[in-house]
Symmetry: C2
Subunit: 355 residues, 2 copies
Amino acid sequence: MSENQTQSFIINRAATSKIENIDFENLPFGSVFTDHMLYCDYKSGEWGTPVIKPYEPLTMDPSSRVFHYGQAIFEGMKAYKDENDDVWLFRPDQNLTRFNKSAVRLAMPEIPEEVFIEGLKQLINIDKAWVKKGKGNSLYLRPFMIATGHGVIAAPSGQYRFMIILSPSKAYYQGDVKVLIAEHYSRAANGGIGAAKAAANYSAQFYPTLLANKQGYQQVIWTDDATHTKLEEAGTMNIFFRINDTLYTAPTSERILDGVTRKSIIDLAKRENITVEVRPVLVDEIIEASKNGSLKEIFGAGTAAVINPITGFSYQDTYYELPRQDNPMALDLKNKLTDIQYKLAEDTFGWTIKI
Amino acid sequence: MSENQTQSFIINRAATSKIENIDFENLPFGSVFTDHMLYCDYKSGEWGTPVIKPYEPLTMDPSSRVFHYGQAIFEGMKAYKDENDDVWLFRPDQNLTRFNKSAVRLAMPEIPEEVFIEGLKQLINIDKAWVKKGKGNSLYLRPFMIATGHGVIAAPSGQYRFMIILSPSKAYYQGDVKVLIAEHYSRAANGGIGAAKAAANYSAQFYPTLLANKQGYQQVIWTDDATHTKLEEAGTMNIFFRINDTLYTAPTSERILDGVTRKSIIDLAKRENITVEVRPVLVDEIIEASKNGSLKEIFGAGTAAVINPITGFSYQDTYYELPRQDNPMALDLKNKLTDIQYKLAEDTFGWTIKI
């Protein structure tokens, strides 16, 4: 292990790489990690020096606040390698902005841009060999922050750790996705933390999703908790509905995550002269559109899968199958977006950042 | 360290105790821990052998699910020492039942009674010297469970750790508590996890509570997220309102924790021939009762403070001061309940369990 300091980062490189032991053709999502990780500790009201070091376990006191009071937030991002072996990030500024919004809502400290963006660049650069070429291949990036202060008292922690870990991934394909529209359970409250990318929101979803799985549905479409009449998110993704040739998606709110893929899809669709209406989408109108044949597609949008087409949905014990499309809008938008990400098409938006 | 096995527990005792270094007259709540801890790991669908060993840090992979998807639940309990040096638990069966309800809602495995109850008894017995005599002194017990499986994929973990840590505590006195009735923020959704004692629920409360603190209020009274017209919890406690000589408290629901202190107060009040009405309590009726002088007391009920009297509340920028009582019902109920816990009064309910 050699130690040196550049640009206020402490960097300890691993003596050897484990990359030769990895089967890159056979990567279960999010379970293999690269040689290095980044961490940066916050205490006494300030962030310390970011450290890049070999990936290794953390030492945590059993009374660490994250275990008891759930202060934990994260981002999901990807790095892509183009044909010239250059590595690119996709709209990292959007992830930083959202991360810091999540931090404020969870009473955690905001992370400086220098640590988040420059940290990502430095870390990915060191583990650049783990970013494989070819469409579908990517390096999944997981910045996160946890409360590390000690003590079982229900109050914000005084100490935090920001980390970045990296996981090589293949194209994420879930197969046919049938979804269940939530009639009882929900993921977010008005005035709650649904707009934050908080660990807490995910733990709330697992049980209702397991119940849906048992009925043969892969995901739940979440509805507003007060009336269950508005369609808000699909599993851990934002959701789009195509009625005739118009795309509909719910506006972001306190209950809905401001997804980077979501907003990119909206911009991309508009550029392609597709009409996009951002407004509350009601269960009733989707049922009606399904019955009269105007409902053409439903898809989820998120970083891991980019776009995930939904094949049908269930509501009040009735299953509504979506028609097969010869040229689905979901696939077209997915290709156009990933072409930008992989530098196979011109990035007219300025979304891609070279490392 | 000596090792032996009793009743299927593996017990490794600490070679020395740190108890001599502890200032028991000066204990910040929840920050000093005893010599030993208990853990029990779940994998491949079953719980392993519980282990009692010296209190020490955990080794956690950075991709541990609890850091990313928030599967974490806990209980708060206390052990009390009577004048004969016997140590008592208060209604531990209720905590076990609630812990397992929380586990189900968070898609975590239920813990066997043998591990939870017998684990508490064995662990407390080993650290019995840490339970100090005298009303107000107690040993705060913190059973909790975290998701320890690796991998950043948003699905329930396959591995979990159940733990118990113990913290000696003095009487918990917060001073005058003024509260702010929530008009925008909320802690729980319909169909959400508000009834679970989940870490996730606490992280959602910190930011709105900090905003209230800045306005001079110590806690927030949470209202229902859809209409903000129903009074549901106070900070991390259940809430009671005394109008004339009747006590009112909200019914438990998906949004409200089924507090052990709450239900004990209800039973105790009924035994004392106090009328208790368990029904939704509206903001409007409390404002009206304050104005016409019939609102006598408001108090929070929870394990840490037992009963915490509230001196006044704010709603829509108006502050409502509560009248001082010569013989507050809150204090009377608190004394009667703690007398049962410390074995100073007959336990007519069968709530106390000797270790």
